[in-house]
Symmetry: none
Subunit: 462 residues, 2 copies
């Protein structure tokens, strides 16, 4: 059965003279699973998505395994290993972010469509489109050459968007089986269209959620307002205490372990396309840049820590007014960390700050969430250079060297447990809307990703 969007895809593909209909069909199938890892009602969808991967990787001739965890399964696949060859582990994830606010999507998030040279769907870029490019690169190499230049291990998890809670125990348990010389990851950004990008650093993360409780139920704001604390006001005061007036984080000791930027980084980053203050405004649509004084946008994003509110809520949020004094209010926080901040140490400092600044008249509950360490490596190592050459071959231009603002804590875990560094060769463009409505993936980066995989395996083998 040929579904309508495949017809459209074929039309588009033919008009662009690209013979990748089957690859697009694979991606569309992969994207159609609503594998939202944070939402327990989607547990079966996550599992079905893992099953699809197993089937795909098995058909390619790899030795696959579905590993159960306490929550969502981990998929591994390995080529027949030749001890004379280097081994490259390729990491990715098949789970996706939630889709809220659903009403802002132009097309349903789990019904991928091709439009204007992009694939629109939740997970299109993060991370299904990127990991699938590597899978399809390996598939093409196996079909055309019958063998691979290096040994390959795919490690594809289903819990990245909830902080990979079960991956570290898995890595520890299968340390021997996962032994490798280098790790390749495409789960990061490309600074601008057509500009290949090598990432050598990531921010870490520490999350927590705070609930403040006041009266035992919602109260009439006229009858009781003024004599008891309002939890919505209290949560606002608590959130406001996190920064000083200028935007510096006001938590005691928060900056103690921050590694200063090196001179070459500041100089190189000033020239990276798509990362100026004006680019930040153009991409985000914000009315102004705002952040820690004394740093450029790139420096703020890639080398300085943050304290962000991901969600705040309390009281009546519907249409019109309701004169209620709410029983409780909450805020969800995430702190982005940079080398050499330690998430557990920051979590302690955050809790101490919240305890110290909790306004009077309410009780506080703090729920500590997931965390992950920041990462940094040397982009000028032997494998790093192979990655740079592969990027140049795949995209026709020397890559820029950057750090990333996002967090992939598992990269640091992989380094600590397997003792190997990761080449981060991201295919996400700034307007790919990851984690947001209308997530999309440029078809040219899908193709480029497949070329990148093939070039990388060859360069690593040299």
């Amino acid at each position: 059965m040929t579904r309508p969007y495949f017809k459209l895809a074929r039309l588009w593909v033919q008009s662009h003279n690209i013979l990748m209909t089957e690859q697009l069909e694979d991606l569309f199938e992969f994207l159609r699973f609503p594998s939202v890892s944070t939402d327990s009602s989607h547990a079966e969808d996550v599992r079905a998505c893992a099953g699809w991967l197993i089937e795909k990787l098995t058909q390619m001739g790899l030795e696959t395994e579905l590993h159960e965890t306490a929550k969502h399964p981990i998929v591994t696949a390995r080529s027949k290993h030749d001890p004379a060859k280097k081994t490259c582990l390729i990491y990715g994830h098949y789970d996706v972010q939630p889709v809220d606010p659903i009403e802002l999507w132009d097309t349903p998030p789990f019904e991928p469509v091709l439009r204007d040279g992009r694939i629109w769907a939740r997970g299109a870029t993060d991370n299904k489109g990127q990991i699938l490019a590597h899978i399809l690169g390996v598939e093409a190499a196996l079909k055309e050459d019958g063998e691979l230049p290096v040994n390959i291990i795919f490690l594809i998890e289903g819990e990245e968007e909830i902080g990979s809670p079960n991956l570290v125990p898995f890595l520890q348990k299968y340390k021997e089986e996962l032994a490798c010389d280098v790790i390749a990851v495409s789960d990061t950004g490309m600074v601008a269209k057509g500009v290949p990008t090598m990432g050598y650093g990531l921010r870490g993360i520490a999350c927590c959620e705070v609930t403040l409780k006041g009266p035992s139920g919602d109260m009439h704001s006229g009858v009781y307002g003024g004599a008891i604390a309002n939890p919505a006001t209290a949560i606002a005061r608590l959130v406001a205490s996190l920064h000083d007036f200028d935007g510096n984080i006001a938590i005691d000791g928060f900056y103690d372990d921050v590694r200063p930027l090196e001179t070459w980084e500041r100089e190189a980053w000033a020239k990276v396309p798509g990362s100026s203050d004006q680019d930040t405004l153009d991409i985000t649509g914000s009315p102004a840049t705002f952040g820690e004084p004394g740093y450029s946008s790139a420096e703020r994003l890639w080398a300085r820590p943050t304290a962000e509110v991901n969600g705040i809520g309390g009281g009546y949020q519907g249409e019109g007014s309701k004169t209620v004094l709410p029983a409780e209010a909450m805020a969800k926080f995430s702190f982005r960390l940079v080398p050499d901040q330690e998430p557990k140490d920051i979590a302690k400092k955050v809790q101490a700050h919240l305890q110290k600044h909790c306004p009077p008249g309410v009780t506080m509950e703090i729920e500590v969430g997931h965390d992950g360490k920041p990462y940094i490596c040397d982009p000028h190592s032997e494998n790093g250079k192979a990655g740079q050459v592969a990027l140049e071959k795949a995209f026709g231009k020397a890559p820029v060297l950057i750090r990333e603002g996002g967090s992939i804590p598992i990269i640091q875990d992989l380094k600590e447990i397997l003792g190997v560094e990761s080449l981060m060769m991201g295919l996400a463009l700034p307007d790919c809307q990851i984690h947001a409505p209308n997530e999309n993936y440029y078809v040219e980066n899908f193709e480029g990703g497949i070329r990148l995989n093939r070039a990388l395996l060859k360069e690593l083998a040299k």
Copy 2:
């Protein structure tokens, strides 16, 4: 036909030796109309309820009229006017609040039942039970004495729960016909069981809603966090700016027109049952009292203005975490005002404050909501004293004098248009659950209300 609940009512009434079966039957009939004014699907029920009132008041020998408005009708009824007598206008409303959440009601809201000395139904206290006590007081006086000590005008509207949108034009149009010497209202609280209460003040209100916008859509908090302002953080900082550390409102000029408490008020209120700090904790369940320094709970509630957040929201509020930097965040504010603050003046000061304190990096939209003036009168005036005597005669104890924390803007409108002050003699106890599931009305307050009406008309005539 005698319905089962009347049998039960009769049994209870007989066992308590109270001869008020007919009055209870009237109340039950009145309560059985689901006259929910905010819900257009109940428009015919509201009208039917007005029709019942017209019939009741006509049967009593009063001259009644049903006045159409743009929405729900207003009922008036007047006794034959003797120019030698004073005229008392009795204001009330026959519309009720919605019943949601319906699942929390122990019995259906529009099937009144008698249990534990209380009548349980939506509107039992607010306001059907209270206004009917006045009607039945007048009925009893007419039956027993053949005439009334004063001229009476009933003014009973069907839109109080939606802010009385059509009452001011009505008052302006019928100013002559509604001319009177004093107004009596039972739509407020009694501080504790068995403690007659005279209210001589109400807080006013000014509402607004603020929306802060940052990036054009939700952003990944890792990829963009640190370089642009977060609207959730910004709304928190804006809300936090409304109060100083101790709980004083920090808006320039906010307290300028606040009438200081008089010494007698502070002394009297310190002795009012049910209004201590401990009572506030017991009633609300809050962990501590909190408010403007230097004032007791009663003083904070009845004589000091507030700046309350009725709702705050932005970003992801669902289960788990989502590392999003939200595109916007909002807060709904209501300011309770006291004499001699002017809502329009306060609205201007609030807007100036919000403009001045809007954090950088976001744009702000302010939507001004409804407002109402505060009210105060002299409880020691001639009519005020008559009201106090009547309360003492009806309940066997001298009344306490209080102001109310809530707002009934129509009381100030009545003062401005008819030039007459209102005696607020509330019959609602703190556990009557007005506006909430399981609304109820103490039978002893129903009886007391009937006695109160008879005593009041006599005292006013003196």
